[in-house]
C-alpha cells in the first residue's frame, strides 16, 4: 500500500465504486454493511403478507424495523396504527410479524406506544424499546393529536410514519400529506382545478421539528443506508423521535410495481421530498440531491398526475409543483450549486 495524500484521497473513495448505494457490498466489513444485507437478518416483517406487488410500505417497514430491532438488541415492541400495514400483515389467522406487535386504533398508535414505554419503565425494563408506526393518514391526520402529545411529553417512543401520500387502505382518499394536483378518490381529476388543491397540506416532519424533540428525520426506501443510519441514530436516543419515510404506493399512485424505489429516488432528486434530519428543533443534516431532475421526471410515471400532462392548465400545475420543489431545495440546501462549498 502506498501512503501520503493520494492514498488518503483514494481511501476515502475506496469502496465507493460499487456498493455505495447498493444494499450490500462484499468489499466492506460485515459491521459496515446494511442490516438488510445480512444473511440472517431478522425479517421483522416476514413472507406471506398481503401487501400489493411492489409495496413501498412493506419494504420501508421491514427496513426500519429490522434496523431498529438490531439496534435494540432484539428488545423491540411495535405499535401499529390501523392502515394498510396493519391490514396486510395481520388478517386472522396469520400474522407476518415476528416481533411483539399490537394494533389498537387508527389514531392512537403514538399514545399506545407511550403506554407501552411507560410499562417498560415501571417494570424496570428500559432496555426494551418501543416503535410506533402508521401511514400518513394515521399520522398526519387522525393520529396527529396523539402524536403531538407524545412529542411534547418527550415520551420514549420512535414514531415512524410511512408516507404514501393518501389513504390507500380505504381506496386512495386525500390526506393532509397528499401533494397538490394529485388525483385521489376524493380529489378527482375533474373540474377547473383537477386533483388536490394547491396551498393545502402540512409537513409533519417540520411540525415535529417545531416540538423540539431530540430527533426528527425524513428518509425514503430509495436510500437504505441513510434510512438505517437514521433508525440507528434514533434508537441511540431516549425520548420522542420521529422518522418520516416516503414509501411509493403502486396502487394509489398508479405507477408500475417495479418502479417503487425509482419513484422514491426521483422524489428526492427533483426536490419534492426533502430528506433531512433535525435535533432538538434545529435542522442538522440534509441528503443532497445527487442527480437533479425536473419534477416531470417524477410525475410522469404516476397516473395520479397524468391529467397534468394533457392540458395547458396541467402544465401550469407542473410549474407550480416545480416551484414547490425549488423552494424545498433552497430551504434545505439540497443541491450543490457551483461554488457552493459547505
Amino acid at each position: 500500500m502506498t501512503n501520503g495524500t493520494t492514498s488518503a484521497a483514494i481511501q476515502k473513495l475506496h469502496f465507493y465504486q460499487k456498493g455505495t448505494f447498493t444494499v450490500g457490498n462484499r468489499l466492506v466489513s460485515e459491521a459496515d454493511r446494511s442490516v438488510q444485507a445480512s444473511i440472517d437478518r431478522s425479517n421483522a416483517l416476514t413472507c406471506g403478507h398481503r401487501a400489493c406487488q411492489g409495496c413501498g410500505e412493506a419494504l420501508g417497514a421491514r427496513y426500519a424495523l429490522d434496523a431498529a430491532l438490531r439496534a435494540a438488541g432484539g428488545n423491540l415492541i411495535a405499535v401499529n396504527a390501523t392502515g394498510c400495514l396493519e391490514v396486510f400483515t395481520t388478517p386472522y389467522p396469520e400474522t407476518s410479524w415476528q416481533i411483539p406487535w399490537i394494533h389498537s386504533l387508527f389514531g392512537n398508535a403514538a399514545a399506545v406506544a407511550t403506554g407501552v414505554a411507560a410499562a417498560m419503565r415501571v417494570k424496570g425494563r428500559p432496555e426494551i424499546r418501543v416503535v410506533a408506526q402508521g401511514g400518513d393518514g394515521g399520522t398526519t391526520d387522525i393520529g396527529f393529536g396523539c402524536l403531538s402529545g407524545m412529542f411534547e411529553r418527550n415520551d420514549d417512543v420512535l414514531y415512524i410514519c410511512y408516507d404514501n401520500e393518501a389513504y390507500m387502505n380505504t381506496g386512495v382518499q386525500r390526506s393532509s400529506a397528499t401533494p397538490p394536483a394529485a388525483r385521489t378518490a376524493t380529489t378527482p381529476a375533474v373540474g377547473p382545478q383537477p386533483g388536490n388543491v394547491f396551498g393545502t397540506g402540512k409537513s409533519v416532519p417540520k411540525i415535529a421539528v417545531a416540538h423540539g424533540i431530540p430527533f426528527v428525520a425524513t428518509a425514503t426506501v430509495a436510500d437504505l443506508h441513510d434510512l438505517e443510519r437514521k433508525v440507528v441514530k434514533a434508537m441511540g436516543i431516549h425520548g420522542a423521535r420521529y422518522l418520516h419515510i416516503h414509501v411509493p404506493c403502486p396502487l394509489g399512485w398508479g405507477s408500475a410495481s417495479q418502479d417503487t424505489i425509482r419513484l422514491a429516488q426521483l422524489a428526492v432528486e427533483c426536490g419534492m421530498f426533502p430528506v433531512f434530519e433535525a435535533e432538538h428543533g434545529v435542522v442538522t443534516g440534509r441528503r443532497k440531491i445527487r442527480r437533479r431532475v425536473p419534477v416531470e421526471d417524477y410525475l410522469k410515471p404516476q397516473r395520479r398526475f397524468a391529467h397534468l400532462f394533457t392540458t395547458e392548465e396541467g402544465r401550469k400545475c407542473i410549474s407550480q409543483l416545480q416551484a414547490m420543489a425549488d423552494r424545498n431545495i433552497a430551504e434545505y440546501r439540497l443541491f450543490d450549486w457551483e461554488g457552493d462549498v459547505e
Partner: protein, 421 residues
Amino acid sequence: MLKQIEGSHAMAEGIALCRPEVICAYPITPQTHIVERLGEMVRTGELKNCEFINVESEFTALSVAIGASAAGARAYTATASQGLLFMAEAVYNAAGLGLPVVMTIGNRAIGAPINIWNDHSDAMSMSDAGWMQLFAETNQEAVDLHIQAFRLAEELSMPTMVCVDGFILTHAVERVDVPEQAEVDDYLPAYEPVQVLDPNDPISIGAMVGPDAFTEVRFLQHYKQTLALRLISEFAGEFKKQFGRDSGGLLRTYKIDDAEVLVVAMGSVNGTIKDTIDEMRADGIRIGLVTLVAFRPFPVEALRKVLVGPKHVVVIEKSLAVGMGGQLALHVDLALRNVAGAPQVHSVVAGLGGRPITRPSLHRLFRRALVQPWEGTHFLDLNEEVIAKELHYVRKVRRSGPTAENLLRRLRTGAQKPAAD
C-alpha cells in the same frame, strides 16, 4: 383507617392501594380530584412504582392505558361525560383486546346543552362497549368497588368501569374507612396478564378478524361477562371476609320481604330512596328497594329472583334513551321477560343534569305507583308549564331559536316568549 375525606380523595387512596403502575390523567369535571390526588401521591412517593402521565385528551388517556396494559402493567384512568364519549373508540378497543384497564367514571350528563352535573347518561352510552360497569352507592362503596374492580378485571382480562355519581360522591366529604395496604395486597394479587407484549415471547395483538371468527370473538366477550356474574358475588364475599363489610356484589336489597312495591335504582340516589322508604314504611306502605351494583354484566337471574312477587316495580334512573325512555327500566323488563306473574314495571327518569331527587318528590311518586300506576316513561318533577309554553311557541314560530336558552329565559322571567325576540 377511618377518615373524614372527600370522596375523590378517598377513591384516589383506594386506587393507590391497588398499586396501579400506569395512570393517565386528563382533566374533566367531576373526576379531576381523583387523578389530581393520585398525581400528588406519585410525586410525594406515597404511590411508588407508578408512571403518572398527563395526556392531551381522554382518547389518549385510554390509549396509553391500553398500551400499558398490553405491556403487562396495571393501568388506570378516569373520566366523565364528554370525555368518555371522546374516548369511545378506545373504550370498545380495550374491551375487544381484553385488556383489564380500570376506569372511574365520575358520572355526569352529556351535552348539549353542556352540563357538568350528575346523571348516568355517560356510563349508559358505553354500556355495550364490552366493559363491566359497577355503580357505587356511597363513597365507602366507591373505594371498595375499585379494589374489587381490579381483581375482577384482571381475573377475566376484561376492562371495568367504576361509576360514581359526580359531585354527589366525588365532591362529598364523608367518613370513609380507607383500607390498609397489607389487607389490599392480600385481597388483590399481582397482575398476571393472559397476553403480553414481550420480546422473549412475541405475539401479534389486535389482528383483523373477518366474518369467519368475529362472532366467536364477540361471543367469548359475552361469555366472560356471564362468568363475571358469579365472580362479582364471589369477590364481594371475599371482600367481606377480608375487610368486614358488604360492598359490591350484583345487587343489594332493602326491606323487600313483604313489599308490594319495589324500587330499582343505581348509584347514590339509593340513600334518599332508603330514607323515603323508611318514612313510607312508617306510614304502613309495604315498599322495598333493589340497589343494582352491576349494570354490566346485567344480573338478569338475580334481579328476577327478587322482583317476582310484588305487584309493582318502579325503576328510577338518571338516564334517558331519547325516543325510547328509561334504559334501566328496559333492562328490568328484560329480567322479567316471559316470567309468569311478573310485576308491572313503571319507568321514571329523574335527576337529569344534576336535578335533585328529593324525598317529597319520591313520596309522591311511590304513592302514585300504588294508586295510579302509569305506562310509559315518567319524568320526575318535569316543569310542565315551561314545556307547554315552549311547545306552543315552537308551533307558532318557525325560527324559534335554541330550546335550552328559551327554557332558561322562561324560567327566569316567566315571559310568554323569549326576551331576545
